[in-house]
């Protein structure tokens, strides 16, 4: 099914992306367009999680900077995803500072609260997971968890790259991502049976030990 291939595709494009970046740095506009199309879906998803409906604006700001500083960039496709994520994040934080709006915007409470939805199984819940619903859930997370989850799941960054984007230690980022995913799973109904009464701490140690 298409959904299953999604995460693999993020990294599968890295070779292509790296080559495109190299050509774009030499002035190839078509290569830059290709890089844009590879990176933009994840970047927009990440920005949606950070700034909501202003994601498009922030993304275009970010691309201005990416296009301007492309000559400075050094690295491969995976590195480019991390680099663009860093730039987009800075633009997003600027945007939030200007707006004085907290990244977890209000307005999602009613959805987040009536949680374990009408689905009878976890898989059904996941399969019918809409973009809006997923965004609501992610934006309902604490900020560090939401960002860690987004960078990893949507931008396809690995642990060290995520940590670099967020300016934190890899261990802290891994923990945040794990907790965030745990919490999302619980909200989607899967956690109910297994670890409803297991605290976050306990499940984290469980997670770390495996």
């Amino acid at each position: 099914m298409g959904q299953a291939r999604q995460p693999r595709r993020i990294q599968a494009c890295d070779g292509e992306l790296g080559a495109a970046i190299a050509r774009a740095q030499d002035g190839d506009e078509a290569a830059f367009a290709l890089a844009y199309r590879i990176v933009q879906p994840g970047l927009l998803g990440y920005l949606h999680g950070l700034v909501g409906n202003d994601a498009e604006d922030v993304a275009s700001d970010a691309w201005l900077e990416i296009a301007r500083d492309l000559g400075r960039f050094k690295g491969d496709g995976a590195g480019f995803r991390g680099w663009t994520a860093t730039i987009a994040r800075h633009r997003a934080l600027d945007h939030l500072r200007r707006q004085r709006v907290r990244p977890r915007a209000g307005g999602t409470e009613q959805d987040v609260l009536h949680l374990p939805g009408p689905h009878n199984t976890y898989d059904q819940a996941l399969e019918s997971l809409s973009t809006e619903r997923a965004l609501e859930l992610v934006r309902g997370l604490p900020r560090d968890q939401a960002e860690a989850v987004l960078l990893r799941v949507v931008m396809g960054l690995d642990g060290p790259a995520t940590a670099r984007v967020l300016g934190k230690r890899p261990g802290a980022v891994r923990t945040a991502a794990h907790r965030g995913l745990k919490r999302l799973a619980r909200q989607l109904g899967v956690g109910g049976k297994a670890d409803a009464d297991v605290t976050d701490e306990a499940s984290r140690t469980l997670g770390e030990s495996k």
């Binding site: 959904q3 879906p41 275009s60 296009a67 000559g71 992610v138 990893r152 297994a194 495996k210």
Partner: protein
């Protein structure tokens, strides 16, 4: 960690791929893998605005990549997303260059310091080579080292006096330098202001007589002119002037000999007979 793997997409497995729910690995891993997959699909934007793409491309065009401008822009640390091992290769290279450059610079300074120290030594110890040289031919010129003061105590006091005397000749009547303490000492040592000249000539004769005595070289009038030369040449130079007063038969060959290196040629002059006046011109 299991989720790292699932992030790479390799072990993504679905629970419903196993009808009885028997899956390898803890349910946590499966759950989070499935969850991440679903989140990825839901959160990644599947529709891209073509206008936004055009904007980005326009920005790319105006940034003028390629041979000019941005290509040459310096890569900041935040722009360097190469893998750590790749970066680590460069860093030692840069460090190696830095260390090599620093050692070269320090070496240069050290070499320069050695050179200046040598020069300082020859400047201070002008009499030592001539002493040694004068001792050697002392066999042929028997009186060479007989009345010479001991070389060891010579530089300390006698050389001071010499220096003062030479400066006295130079400064002469003009200037107030004669009021300085050193001059007062000189005057005291000479026993009166008007006796300084005599005293000085005695001193200088004694100090520099040895290298030049046998040769007797040096044109009488050259003494004061010699005093103008640098510190290294001074000892021999004024010595020639004073000692040469008694020498009528100046050796012409000596005047051309070794214009720069007065002391050394003064010493060797003993053997050749007459080159001791090499300081002249």
């Amino acid at each position: 960690m299991g989720e790292r793997l699932s992030g790479d997409g390799v072990p993504v497995r679905h629970r419903h791929g196993h009808p009885d729910g028997t899956v390898s690995g803890p349910p946590d891993v499966q759950d989070s893998a499935t969850l991440e997959t679903a989140l990825t699909a839901a959160l990644r934007a599947d529709h891209l605005d073509p206008r936004a793409e055009q904007q980005a491309l326009a920005a790319f065009r105006s940034a003028a990549h390629g041979s000019t401008g941005a290509r040459r822009a310096r890569t900041r640390r935040c722009d360097d997303w190469r893998r750590p091992e790749e970066r680590r290769i460069r860093r030692p290279m840069r460090m190696t260059f830095g260390v090599a450059f620093a050692s070269l610079a320090l070496g240069g300074v050290a070499v320069a310091a050695i050179g200046s120290a040598d020069r300082a030594d020859t400047g201070r110890g002008t009499t030592h080579p001539s002493t040694a040289a004068s001792d050697q031919p002392g066999g042929t010129a028997s009186s060479a080292s007989s009345d010479r003061p001991e070389p060891t105590d010579h530089p300390s006091r006698a050389q001071d006096t010499e220096a003062h005397c030479r400066a006295y000749e130079q400064v002469g009547k003009h200037g107030k330098a004669l009021n300085a303490t050193a001059w007062q000492q000189l005057v005291t040592a000479a026993g009166g202001q008007d006796k300084v000249a005599t005293y000085c000539s005695e001193q200088l004769t004694r100090a520099t007589a040895t290298p030049n005595r046998t040769t007797g070289a040096g044109k009488p009038g050259k003494g004061p002119a010699n005093a103008d030369s640098g510190a290294t040449g001074d000892t021999g130079a004024s010595g020639n002037g004073t000692s040469g007063t008694g020498a009528s038969g100046a050796d012409p060959g000596g005047t051309h000999n070794a214009t720069g290196n007065g002391q050394v040629s003064g010493g060797t002059g003993q053997a050749s007979g007459g080159t001791g006046s090499g300081k002249h011109q």
